[in-house]
Symmetry: C2
Subunit: 118 residues, 2 copies
């Protein structure tokens, strides 16, 4: 990564505060992971999957039918959601049921919805 030292002729905030910001900044890998997490929310198909799972666990084929999409497309996206630990799965015979992993999903989507509707 290139460095760009002293871009400004003079700073507009105290150097102490700039130093503090650098210290308070989470480490690079956390920031990367955080961006990766939000990328997962950044697709309307995955958002829609999470929304239907708000109500109840569902099997892959029911999700596909609800969203009017192919089984394959949904399965690929469920894998992404699972890797991000936003959903979990349990198998029952041939069927695999997916469900929300925790409540952060609801909070994050709820806050996002608040933001766009204000």
């Amino acid at each position: 990564m290139q460095e760009y030292p002293e871009l400004c002729e003079e700073h507009h905030v105290h150097p102490d505060l700039l130093a503090h910001m650098k210290l308070e900044m989470p480490d690079e890998s956390s920031l990367y992971d955080l961006a990766e997490l939000f990328k997962v929310f950044g697709d309307s198909t995955r958002i829609r999957i999470l929304y239907v799972l708000f109500e109840s666990e569902l099997c892959v084929c029911d999700i596909a039918e609800l969203l009017g999409m192919s089984q394959s497309a949904i399965s690929h996206q469920l894998r992404v959601l699972k890797q991000a630990r936003l959903v979990r799965a349990r198998r029952e015979g041939k069927t695999v049921f997916y469900f929300l992993a925790d409540d952060h999903v609801r909070t994050i989507i709820g806050q996002g919805m608040e933001h766009i509707t204000e």
Copy 2:
């Protein structure tokens, strides 16, 4: 968009619940906007910009220097953040100061951070 009716031989949840889910689902444009919003969070450069703005408003050059990136790159990303109404700007002479638009940013990033660190 293609339709995939009756993918399952038989449903695993009550048809009534499936119908309810379709009703509860936000309209297509809200879901699209929501995904667009999270896409904005889904980039580590933009996350880092939001993080430094947690502390104080900052001019473009100070942000660029803090993050070790070019003025142009930061300016492009600030535009994305501004279009998503996550940051706002005020001009003071030659300098433009950017600051967080509201508190949803903090909540969303906070919840995201909780999720990845648990």
